[in-house]
């Protein structure tokens, strides 16, 4: 059972590598931001599987903090794309 979970963990980590491909290769700026957004969500899944593997719960705290920081970062990047300042 733990072996199968290991395989799932490696699959999840390689999926985040696909997002890195989109960040590096993306033809336009919004494509790269899509890659950053999806990468931030996938890392939470990696954190959850690692917390099952090791049996420790503090790794889920890292996941929650990562979600919130990724949310704020994506909102800031979207505001930058519209070309306005942050307070209008």
């Amino acid at each position: 059972m733990s072996q199968f979970l290991n395989i799932l963990l490696y699959v999840q980590i390689s999926l985040s590598t696909i997002c890195l491909y989109r960040i590096i290769r993306g033809p336009s700026i919004p494509d790269r931001m899509v890659g950053v957004d999806i990468f931030g969500i996938l890392v939470v899944g990696v954190c959850a599987i690692i917390s099952i593997q090791t049996g420790r719960s503090f790794i889920l705290d890292i996941g929650i903090a990562w979600i919130i920081l990724s949310f704020i970062g994506t909102l800031t990047l979207a505001k930058y794309l519209t070309g306005k300042k942050l307070n209008e």
Binding site: L5, L8, S28, D31, D37, I64
Partner: protein
């Protein structure tokens, strides 16, 4: 029994993530990529967290996963909406095969 349910939820989640990442690689347009990836990947990671809840039972780790699910769900969808709006205002046009653009009349 608990282990089996948890493994099933995590497997379904990783499959959804796989489909979303194939969408990121293969789809032709920025908007297509964003909508495919955000829906599939958000649902997949929520499913993985549900698997974590089933694995740990009634403990602190399950509580943390239970808190993480709504934050992930609402946070990522709102962020994707803002990102797609910013993309439109940035000047990226729709793809060649797209036939209808309602937002163009809406912001006029």
């Amino acid at each position: 029994m608990k282990e089996i349910i948890s493994i099933v939820f995590i497997t379904v989640g990783v499959l959804f993530n796989l489909l979303g990442c194939i969408g990121i690689l293969r789809l032709p347009d920025t908007y297509n990529r964003l909508q495919a990836a955000t829906k599939a990947v958000t649902l997949g990671c929520c499913s993985i967290l549900v698997g974590v809840i089933f694995h740990f039972g009634l403990s602190d780790a399950a509580t943390k996963a239970f808190i993480a699910i709504p934050i992930l769900f609402f946070g990522s969808t709102v962020a994707a909406h803002a990102l797609i709006r910013g993309t439109y205002h940035f000047g990226i046009t729709l793809g060649d095969k797209c036939v209808k653009d309602d937002y163009k009349e809406a912001i006029k």
